[in-house]
């Protein structure tokens, strides 16, 4: 009796295990491949970058055309509080963006001047490492993408980003959007967002909205691999700053002074 029962239990157990194998396999085999599958070759050949000419930017005081353009087309809500603020591009005083450039004795007066900051689209983006679901990842052309469909809202990417480039939707943003731009989705509460280098516009051969909106032509955008591109020409033989280059994130947004 003893032996029989044991034998039966063993067989039953093994059968059960066998039955779970197929669905188990199905579940795991359905998982998408680790890296987003090869992007079109066109993308892989490019490496988008941006240059900000600070002197040109400062020539018009209190201009915020680039911010308005970006926030309008991306449906960035204006929540009116610092606590829940969402921003893709915003001004920060020079001395805070570049704390390593001490200006004490240089006689220059620009340490309080605003510097436009956005997501640096790092070449070695820290945020990507931390995301538990690959909701954020680096595309072949260097754009650090955000998939709002997949973000679970753990905010670990925000902890990972040393530039504070990421914002979180603390509440449903839709009531705070003045006029919804139809071609870009709004976001739900509970997901993280940031500048995407106007990936949806590049796709249609348009320049990023901020670059297009700047009357002073302070912003230049283009393919860093192409010596003839706007961004490369803007950077040529100039003094270039990057934000916190010592962290090894290799930002692709350059500041020219």
């Amino acid at each position: 009796m003893e032996l029989k029962r044991r034998g039966f239990l063993t067989i039953a157990g093994l059968t059960l295990l066998g039955l779970t194998a197929k669905p188990g396999w199905d579940i795991f085999s359905k998982v998408e491949l680790p890296e987003p599958s090869p992007t079109p070759e066109r993308l892989a050949k490019k490496k988008w970058g941006m240059a900000v000419d600070l002197k040109k930017c400062w020539s018009l005081e209190k201009c915020k055309d680039c911010i308005d353009a970006c926030h309008r087309i991306h449906n960035v809500p204006d929540l009116g509080t610092l606590k829940e603020e969402i921003k893709w591009i915003w001004p920060v005083p020079f001395e805070k963006v570049f704390p390593e450039h001490e200006l004490e004795y240089s006689g220059e007066d620009y340490h309080q001047k605003p510097v436009m900051v956005f997501c640096n689209q790092c070449d070695d983006p820290p945020c990507v490492k931390y995301c538990p679901t690959r909701a954020t990842w680096k595309r072949k052309d260097g754009i650090v993408m955000m998939d709002f469909h997949r973000c679970i809202g753990c905010r670990y990417c925000m902890a990972g980003c040393p530039y504070g480039s990421r914002s979180f939707n603390w509440r449903d943003p839709r009531p705070f959007i003045k006029k919804v731009h139809l071609e870009f989705p709004t976001r739900t509460k509970g997901v993280v967002e940031k500048c995407n280098f106007c990936e949806e516009r590049l796709n249609r051969n348009l320049l990023p909205a901020c670059v297009e909106a700047c009357k002073e032509k302070a912003l230049s955008f283009g393919d860093l691999k192409d010596p003839g591109s706007d961004v490369r020409r803007a950077l040529y033989h100039r003094t270039i700053y990057q934000r916190l280059p010592e962290l090894g994130t290799k930002p692709k947004v350059y500041y020219i002074l």
Binding site: L82, P126, C131, C154, R155, W170, D172, K189, G190, V191
Partner: protein
């Protein structure tokens, strides 16, 4: 019926009293805890509907009470393993009456550690994406793996050590006999069954120790792997493990004192237990201080502006009250109490433990929050004041933990009866033999 009980349980009848006798105290406790759990539930529903805007969290300080709770609760869960597994492996005989109480603390509080992260999610409806689209470069995935393993292994440990007692309850044949019959897995207490159980428990105990160490190490890695000032530290792994055992053991002392009082276990959980565990807690206090000191002195000598900003915000800035309070609670108060034999009484160790528990919660808080106020880009007006929602959920979690604990003691004995018996019947002579084996052999 009492005769049968006497016959089966012998002199340990009092250990089963809390299962069969339900007093007024039980109903009062359950209704108070139940009420608080409902409050927490209400708070969570509010948060689920409105979004995380109902918390005090902001764009700058985006992690707060929930993540503190996550680290804190998982820290406490290290107690059970330490007391039941480590002491078992070390053959410390005094562990017997308190092993189940501590294992139970581990299993239950661990669930709230996991729960705290889920509460913190912006899109809790998508939480399974972390498994479906698992990205193993993310330290959060390491946490998921490690914590689920720990929960499984420690649940098995708890259950294995329950089997002989469940069989006792089955033999009593009073309430819920069918339930105990199923769970007892046909235990009859034969010699071979005992041998197998012993083997299984020893195996699980040895297995659970490295798992425990990985758990808090990877919890600390969530912070240490980022490049944020004062998080990016190589000693965070061991520092967090030490802090976890520290707070966990303190919680077990408090649990022991409550159980002793509520269930009249004075004869089982004795001052000697508090004394022994108190000595260990003192050692942990010193070890904790050593790590804290090593962590901060390294920062000070490095003198990097970004690190120093946050360092000063803790030492003399806006986090100074919390920082110094946590230091007093974790070190200044408990150390003398635990170090001086006269004060290492039940009351003394309980006071020291409560102080440590509060202090360690604050420690987690002052590790997590100040770093966020000024990351590399200084932000003005970064204030974080937790709201009623966060406090209610916190209280709800703790109440639900206690409620589960209370309900567990209504079904199972909290002192492992068979281990006590084993101690009485076998271990006394075994220990004598063991000591003899340490001594020089008799010539002759």
């Amino acid at each position: 019926m009492t005769d049968k009980r006497e016959k089966i349980l012998g002199e340990d009848t009092v250990l089963f009293e809390h299962i069969y006798k339900t007093g007024k105290g039980f109903y009062i406790t359950v209704s108070i805890l139940g009420g608080l759990v409902l409050l927490g539930l209400y708070a969570y529903i509010t948060q689920y509907q409105e979004g995380l805007t109902v918390t005090g969290l902001s764009r700058q300080i985006f992690w707060g009470v929930y993540i503190t709770n996550f680290v804190f609760f998982i820290g406490i869960s290290h107690a059970g393993t330490f007391i039941s597994a480590v002491l078992r492996v070390l053959k410390a005989e005094w562990r017997r009456p308190i092993s189940r109480a501590s294992e139970l603390t581990t299993v239950f509080i661990l669930m709230f550690g996991v729960g705290s992260v889920l509460i913190d999610l912006g899109r809790p409806d998508r939480m399974l994406y972390a498994i479906r689209y698992a990205h193993f470069r993310s330290p959060l995935l390491w946490d998921i793996c490690s914590i689920t393993t720990y929960l499984t292994v420690s649940s098995i440990c708890l259950y294995l050590a329950l089997i002989p007692d469940i069989a006792l309850l089955r033999d009593l044949g009073e309430k819920r006999e069918w339930f105990y019959r199923i769970l007892s897995l046909g235990w009859t207490g034969t010699e071979s069954q005992h041998r197998r159980l012993d083997k299984a428990i020893t195996f699980m105990s040895i297995l659970v120790i490295p798992v425990m160490i990985t758990v808090h190490t990877v919890v600390s890695f969530v912070f240490a792997m980022t490049i944020q000032p004062l998080w990016h530290s190589a000693i965070f792994g061991p520092y967090f493990v030490v802090g976890a055992i520290f707070s966990g053991v303190a919680s077990v002392i408090v649990v022991m004192a409550i159980l002793r009082k509520a269930y009249h276990l004075e004869n089982y959980i004795k001052p000697i237990h508090f004394n022994n565990i108190g000595i260990f807690l003192m050692a942990m206090t010193l070890l904790w201080f050593y790590f804290t000191f090593a962590e901060y002195i390294t920062i000070v000598y490095g003198n990097e502006p970004i690190h120093m900003d946050i360092f000063w915000s803790k030492i003399s800035g806006k986090f100074a009250p919390l920082f110094w309070l946590h230091f007093v609670l974790c070190f200044i108060i408990p150390l003398p109490i635990l170090a001086i034999k006269k004060y290492r009484t039940i009351r003394g160790t309980v006071i020291a433990s409560i102080s440590i528990i509060l202090g360690m919660w604050l420690e987690r808080f002052v590790i997590i929050v100040p770093t966020l106020t000024r990351q590399r880009l200084p932000v003005e007006q970064a204030i974080y004041i937790p709201t009623w929602v966060e406090w209610s959920i916190f209280i709800g979690c703790i109440s639900l933990f206690m409620l589960l604990y209370v309900l567990f003691t209504k079904i199972f004995p909290i002192v492992p009866v068979w281990e006590i018996r084993e101690g009485r019947e076998k271990a006394v002579s075994q220990v004598g033999e063991r000591i003899r084996s340490y001594l020089p052999d008799d010539k002759g």
